[in-house]
């Protein structure tokens, strides 16, 4: 029931957004979202955008995970 794929807002009209989900266009209500703009990535649940994704946080999580993985790779390769 929960679609976890981030969707990009490409158009907004009257609290309704056109979103791009992996190349497929759908509409989503913005009625449950505090603020949003064209270009934002949102989580959509059953036709409603419920959250704007925090891009900085996503990047930070990936950076930390990558660093940890690289550190272990280095250890295993005897470089650490």
């Amino acid at each position: 029931m929960c679609l976890a794929i981030p969707s990009k807002i490409i158009h907004i009209e009257n609290e309704m957004a056109t979103i791009d989900v992996d190349g497929v266009k759908r509409s989503a209500s913005l009625m449950l979202l505090e603020d949003s703009a064209v270009g934002d990535y949102v989580i959509v649940h059953a036709g409603f955008a419920i959250k704007k994704l925090d891009e900085d946080s996503a990047k930070e999580t990936i950076r930390l995970l990558r660093e940890a993985a690289a550190f272990v790779d280095d250890l295993e390769a005897g470089k650490g």
């Binding site: 029931m1 929960c2 981030p6 409603f48 946080s57 996503a58 993985a69």
Partner: protein, 363 residues
């Protein structure tokens, strides 16, 4: 690529590293419960189970919306479909769930007007387009779905639609965690639902966590998210320091989504609710407030919930609470399968039995 960041969380190097780390640090045999049905499916689909050491067992919890819906609620939905001049609108999963004597699918075959919708606004549109019919949306789901149903009621109110209503069987997650933690089964940690938490926020779990001091991590849905969350739970267990942690910060904040919560609370009031397999949990359901009584199908139609036993032999209730896994149910794969489901756990795409069946969870 349009799925910004999403693919990064699929990086096999990260997944390999996290799995190796979990295997290295895990000593004590533990049972973790994923409370969200979408997590259950994501865990199976990504093959995470095969990456985990034998010390870690994953149990599915009461997080599949259709599965936790009580038998008497299913029966009430079916009774609604039999009402004259009535269109029943629902998300797809519910249609095949067997009630005590029928299902929405069977009623539809017998001539009832049952429509599958993608969004609650589609149900409002049905009411607008069919002014001579009564349109009822079946409200099933947790805090992720309830605000979208509340939004539909507000829209119908605004549009002065007097032929739209909702039969609410909505449930909320934190009281179910309380019931599980107070129950007989020992759970060493909870993977908390991602999108319920988007709405209610980390703060909503604080009182549960303080009362039980059991490891809790809010998880996202990508393989790296899930492995990272399991690693955090193992860390908490092995260090003896339970915590309430957020492994999905790009979507989940301490306060959640206040606007969605406000819409939900405007329309719904918290009340007791019956859960399949658990029974009545105090203050765990959402009923439509008096102010919106005109949109409450329980008030509009003369339909009452009547106690109904769960299907004979079906272990769905025990599976939802982590007491059994599907292969321990005598009906699993013998008389119960996705083509002929006995209970909702085999019907719903998020049901534990359906996930075991599809991904050969029993080996």
């Amino acid at each position: 690529m349009t799925l910004k960041h999403s693919q990064d969380f699929h990086d096999p190097r990260i997944a390999r590293h996290l799995a190796a780390r979990i295997t290295r640090i895990s000593r004590k045999p533990v049972r973790f419960m994923e409370v969200c049905g979408t997590h259950t499916v994501a865990i199976f689909r990504s093959g995470i189970r095969s990456l985990l050491p034998e010390t870690i067992s994953l149990l599915s919890g009461p997080g599949c919306p259709v599965c936790v819906t009580a038998q008497q609620e299913i029966d009430a939905f079916i009774a609604l479909a039999r009402e004259p001049e009535t269109i029943v609108a629902t998300f797809g999963d519910l249609i095949r769930v067997p009630g005590s004597g029928s299902s929405l699918q069977r009623e539809k075959a017998d001539g009832a007007d049952v429509r599958m919708v993608y969004s609650t606004f589609d149900a409002v549109a049905l009411a607008r387009e069919n002014p001579d019919k009564r349109v009822v949306f079946l409200g099933v789901g947790f805090e992720t779905t309830a605000p979208t149903v509340a939004a539909a009621i507000l829209a119908a109110h605004q549009q002065r639609l007097d032929n739209f209503s909702v039969m609410s069987a909505h449930k909320i997650v934190p009281p179910a965690l309380e019931a599980l933690a107070d129950g007989t089964i020992n759970i060493d940690g909870f993977l908390l639902p991602g999108h319920v938490s988007v709405i209610i926020g980390m703060d909503a779990y604080r009182s549960f966590f303080e009362a039980h001091r059991v490891p809790c991590v809010v998880a996202g849905f990508e393989p790296s998210d899930l492995l990272q969350s399991i690693a955090m739970l193992v860390d908490q267990v092995e260090s003896g320091r339970p915590a309430l942690e957020n492994a999905y910060p790009r979507a989940v904040s301490p306060a959640g989504n206040p606007k969605a919560m406000a819409v939900m609370n405007e329309v719904f009031a918290v009340g007791d609710a019956d859960w399949r397999g658990i029974g009545t949990i105090p203050a765990s359901g959402l009923a439509i407030r008096e102010k919106y009584a005109a949109f409450d199908a329980f008030r509009v139609f003369d339909i009452r919930l009547k106690p109904a036993p769960e299907p004979k032999g079906c272990a769905c209730g025990e599976i939802l609470t982590g007491m059994k896994i599907p292969p321990q149910c005598p009906l699993y794969k013998t008389v119960c399968n996705p083509m002929a489901p006995v209970g909702p756990c085999m019907v719903s795409s998020e049901g534990t039995c359906a996930a075991y069946y599809r991904y050969h969870g029993d080996g």
